[in-house]
């Protein structure tokens, strides 16, 4: 049993990503969507925290959203995998429940 968590807020604007990551269980997945994709930036003040969490969580980012915002792959954490909307659907199906962190 595992959960897919989605986060759609910038971690520099709100505490949402922080709260989400602090409530995940080992083996859960986190998908950053919309403005949430800024949480995948490799050189930001949030990067170490996200990287540390990736040891026990699978962390994904919506590629259409990173492209929209001009975030090239080499700007993103290597520990975070890009998915498209079909991949989003697969993650929803694969995990037992989805929790949206709004």
């Amino acid at each position: 049993m595992s959960t897919l968590h989605t986060v759609n807020k910038s971690p520099f604007a709100t505490q949402t990503l922080m709260s989400c990551l602090n409530h995940c269980k080992d083996g859960d997945a986190v998908l950053m969507i919309e403005d949430g994709v800024y949480g995948a930036l490799a050189n930001s003040g949030m990067a170490d925290f996200v990287r540390a969490k990736s040891a026990s969580l699978a962390i994904y980012v919506m590629s259409p959203d990173t492209a929209a915002r001009g975030l090239a792959e080499d700007k993103l954490l290597g520990e975070v995998s890009g998915v498209d909307y079909a991949g989003f659907v697969d993650l929803v199906a694969k995990h037992d429940r989805t929790q949206s962190w709004l």
Binding site: A86, F88, V89, R97
Partner: protein, 130 residues
């Protein structure tokens, strides 16, 4: 798999209604069922047929109307949330003594029970909001 979807924010202002639309399309393309989309909070504003976005922007309400027709999706607008925000169908307008209504084709107004029912009857529930 049956996937229920909740949209909690209005069109254009937040990306939620766009992301939900792309998600539902991808779910249907992937062979899943999306029997119902429930519009709550400012999400009820998606259902207006009076919006006139600029020609070079997507038409969020039309996209939903067309997707629902093509795939027989039940687009439910929460009545309590809609009343506060000024979204009415013809019946409601008559009942409330209002001289106009503004709900688009393919959307129907109903109660919050439809949200709970969707939670019970689907295998997954995904919320798009702010």
């Amino acid at each position: 798999m049956k996937i229920g979807v909740v949209v909690s924010e209005g069109p254009y202002t937040h990306q939620a209604a766009d992301t939900a639309y792309h998600f539902v399309k991808a779910a249907l393309d992937g062979g899943h069922e999306v029997p119902r989309v429930f519009f709550y909070h400012d999400g009820v504003n998606v259902s207006t047929r009076l919006s006139v976005p600029p020609q070079d922007e997507r038409h969020i309400q039309n996209n939903w109307t067309n997707l629902a027709k093509e795939h027989d999706i039940d687009l439910v607008v929460c009545i309590a949330a809609a009343q506060r925000r000024g979204l009415l169908d013809e019946n409601e307008a008559n009942r409330q003594g209002k001289d106009a209504n503004n709900i688009a084709d393919g959307f129907r107004i109903s109660g919050l029970g439809q949200l709970i029912e969707m939670g019970i009857q689907t295998d997954r529930l995904v919320t798009f909001g702010d």
